[in-house]
């Protein structure tokens, strides 16, 4: 069951194609990372899901049904470029935004009080937004995004502008929301947080999805077949260079650390056998590419193994 499906979505602006036959599928109660360089079309896709922009072709399904205008109340959206009414009081403003999402005034007030307690910001209620620091405003905005209990949450660069402590607080909240039943789409350039949080990703570049899937699958697909072996050498290491390629070797305090690529269908047991006879192995690890590396090599069109 997918919480959200975007199927063959295309969108053309006056002078350029922003989305070209883009499809993504977001599993229910998962965290989905939407990646891509600036200008790739992520924001356009997010706006179409939020029904802010209209797509030219394709369809959006929410819980398997075609999305309709009233579904905006089921979605919480935190845009990348965000702001609040500067002259409006914090509490009043958050209640207003929740009301626009269909919450009753009383429910909104009650819900907001809960969040204010949770984030320990009760004293902000009657402050004007312009009196708050940027980070504080972001917190308010985060609350305003989630307080109507949306089934689908869309965060565009949610961590920008937060200090590390609040980034952790937010990460924890995002995981909590997912555990409570929400589905999260989140768009970011912060690859570390993608690896930490996301179950699935899609990489959009130049208006097209060029890569998508579960994170572990993606990593498996892009792995360079390189193993990192730390060992105490007993003599010169000699390997069959039709089967193995020593990419690099470093020595530190008498321990060598080599990166060795498997060639022509050889496997890791072969490598261990060969090495074990020539040295004392301290550790043996497969090098998996980081999402960051995959992102860069895909966007730049370079070979990922060239990065090691």
């Amino acid at each position: 069951m997918y919480a959200l499906e975007a199927l063959n979505v295309s969108k053309t602006y006056i002078n350029h194609k922003a989305l070209d036959d883009v499809s993504i599928q977001v599993a229910d109660q998962s965290i989905f990372g939407l990646l891509g360089p600036n200008g790739a079309g992520k924001t356009t896709l997010i706006r179409i899901i939020n029904q802010i922009s209209v797509m030219d072709e394709g369809k959006i399904l929410l819980n398997g049904k075609k999305i309709k205008p009233s579904d905006t109340s089921l979605i919480g959206y935190l845009p990348e470029e965000r702001g609040l009414y500067k002259k409006m009081k914090v509490g009043e403003q958050a209640v207003y935004l929740a009301q626009l999402k269909g919450l009753k005034r009383n429910d909104a007030t009650r819900e907001l009080k809960k969040w204010f307690e949770k984030f320990e910001i009760g004293g902000w209620w009657n402050k004007k937004v312009e009196e708050l620091s940027k980070g504080m405003q972001q917190k308010v905005q985060f609350i305003a995004t989630v307080m109507h209990h949306p089934k689908l949450l869309i965060f565009d660069e949610p961590f920008s502008g937060f200090d590390p402590i609040n980034v952790n607080l937010l990460k924890q909240e995002i995981l909590n929301l997912r555990d409570e039943g929400a589905t999260v789409i989140f768009s970011t350039h912060n690859m570390a947080s993608v690896e930490e949080l996301c179950d699935n990703i899609a990489l959009i570049n130049k208006s097209k999805v060029i890569l998508s899937g579960e994170i572990s699958e993606v990593k498996e697909k892009y792995k360079p077949n390189i193993y990192k072996i730390d060992y105490k050498p007993l003599g010169e290491i000699s390997l069959d260079n039709t089967k193995f390629e020593i990419v690099s070797t470093e020595t530190f305090k008498g321990i060598n650390s080599s990166k060795i690529r498997l060639l022509n269908g050889s496997d890791s047991t072969d490598l261990i056998d060969k090495m074990n006879s020539q040295c004392e192995i301290k550790s043996f690890n497969e090098i998996l590419p980081s999402i960051n590396d995959i992102f860069i090599s895909e966007v730049e069109g370079t070979d990922i193994s060239a990065r090691y």
Binding site: I52, Y77, E81, Y85, K86
Partner: protein, 436 residues
């Protein structure tokens, strides 16, 4: 529908609660009431204290002619200037009127000494007495009896009476109508600009601080735009109604005599003009009675209804255009190039008001009062002079058509522009958005 109501509510409340709104709401009527009351009040205030004027008349021509007035009494002194000045000004605290001897046949020079401001009533009274007397003397010198001149003086009161369809006669007076016409036209102009500018500012604020994307994830762009326009219109109406009520209250307070005695504004005006005219009293009708009659003859219900209609219609038309501009541009500085052409019809209307007033029924006037971009101001100028009902109906219908079209166009430009950042917008681009 519920959401647009929420937007209207926010736009309305956030403005009505502002200090500037409250200040404007109170200040407006105070200023308006002050325009009516203050001149009379000040005049009264300076005249309210009893003034005694010592008259040192070396010519002997005038002193008997000064008669005691409401708060002014005259007495005669015969010493020299220095002594009498000392006595009158410093011992008694009075004023001294000194008419020096002159070699001329008829003395026309005098000096009024006082320690405080002498007051307009007193000076104009002295002047008028001396003027009449000197003129009389001159007439006598040329062998003409001033009484003949006086009896031959007439004052023409020309009442223009417009015969309406069905033979109803209405007394009208061009001056009052001109005043009303200019006032109504300027008010419409002022209201449209003031509240139209608030729409522009509000839209730009939302775009610049980026909250617009959050709001648009909940409502349609058209709902947001209309919610803002309607909310601000309600602010305008509230202000207008409060102004009417408060002006009435202030004038009422004043008339009920909080400032003492029987000094209501109108009687003060007339007493003032009577003082000034004592020497040459006006024959015929009291001008104030006439003004009152004319004011009551103008149909104020029509005036207020049309004012509200043309304010709303004109405002909706221009506010939607302003909203489109606000949605299209990124920076305040960029608004100028678009504001100018949009404002031209309004400025043009006000600039033409003189022409319209001179010929309220000319083809140009009729055309401009039909054309939706100029009709709000021009029609308000024409209404005090009487406008056939079919013209009014046509003009109003055209205005409705006008703002439906402009709102539709504005909605299209706004919808695209509001999420567009960093693009230098020009008319060609707006045209593309419009057709997109």
């Amino acid at each position: 529908m519920n959401k647009i109501f929420l937007i209207i509510q926010r736009e309305y409340l956030s403005r009505v609660r502002k200090k500037s709104f409250i200040i404007m709401t109170i200040l407006g009527p105070v200023l308006m009431a002050a325009m009516v009351i203050l001149p009379a009040f000040l005049a009264d205030w300076s005249e309210a204290t009893q003034k005694n004027v010592a008259v040192l008349d070396e010519t002997g021509w005038y002193y008997e002619k000064f008669k005691d007035q409401d708060n002014i009494s005259f007495y005669h002194v015969h010493n020299d200037l220095e002594t009498d000045k000392e006595k009158a000004l410093y011992e008694k605290g009075d004023l001294l009127l000194y008419i020096p001897k002159t070699e001329l046949n008829i003395p026309v020079y005098a000096e009024l000494f006082s320690t405080k401001q002498a007051g307009l009533n007193l000076t104009s009274y002295i002047k008028s007495v001396m003027k009449t007397e000197a003129e009389n003397k001159k007439l006598l010198a040329s062998g003409i009896d001033p009484k003949v001149i006086k009896s031959s003086k007439v004052n023409i009161n020309l009442s223009t009476i417009r015969v309406e369809e069905g033979g109803v006669e209405k007394k009208s007076n061009t001056e009052v109508e001109v005043g009303l016409a200019i006032f109504a036209g300027l008010m419409i102009y002022f209201f449209i600009f003031m509240f139209g500018a608030q729409v522009l500012k509000g839209v730009m604020e939302e775009k610049q601080n980026r909250i617009v994307e959050v709001i648009l994830a909940s409502v349609k762009p058209f709902q947001l735009m209309m919610g803002k326009i309607v909310g601000i219109a309600l602010v305008g109406l509230t202000q207008f109604l409060l102004w009417i009520v408060l002006t009435g209250v202030f004038l009422g307070i004043f008339q009920s005599g909080i400032f003492g005695g029987n000094t209501d504004a109108l009687s003060m005006f007339s007493s003032q003009s009577q003082i000034a005219n004592t020497a040459t009293p006006v024959n015929g009708a009291d001008p104030f009675a006439m003004v009152t009659e004319i004011i009551t003859s103008i149909n104020f219900k029509t005036m207020i209804f049309s004012f509200l209609f043309y304010f709303l219609g004109g405002y909706l038309l221009f506010a939607s255009l302003f909203a489109a501009i606000g949605g299209a541009v990124d920076h305040d500085a960029d608004t100028q190039q678009f504001m100018f052409p949009v404002s031209i019809p309004l400025i043009f209307s006000v600039a033409l008001s003189g022409l319209i007033i001179n010929q309220p029924d000319s083809n140009l006037s009729v055309f401009l009062s039909m054309f939706p971009l100029t009709s709000p101001v021009i029609m308000m100028i024409r209404i005090p002079f009487g406008v056939p009902i079919w013209q009014l109906a046509t003009s109003m219908s055209l205005l409705i058509v006008g703002f439906v079209i402009s709102t539709w166009m504005a909605g299209k430009i706004y919808r695209t522009g509001i999420l567009m950042y960093g693009q230098k917008v020009n008319y060609a681009i707006m045209w593309k958005w419009l057709r997109h």
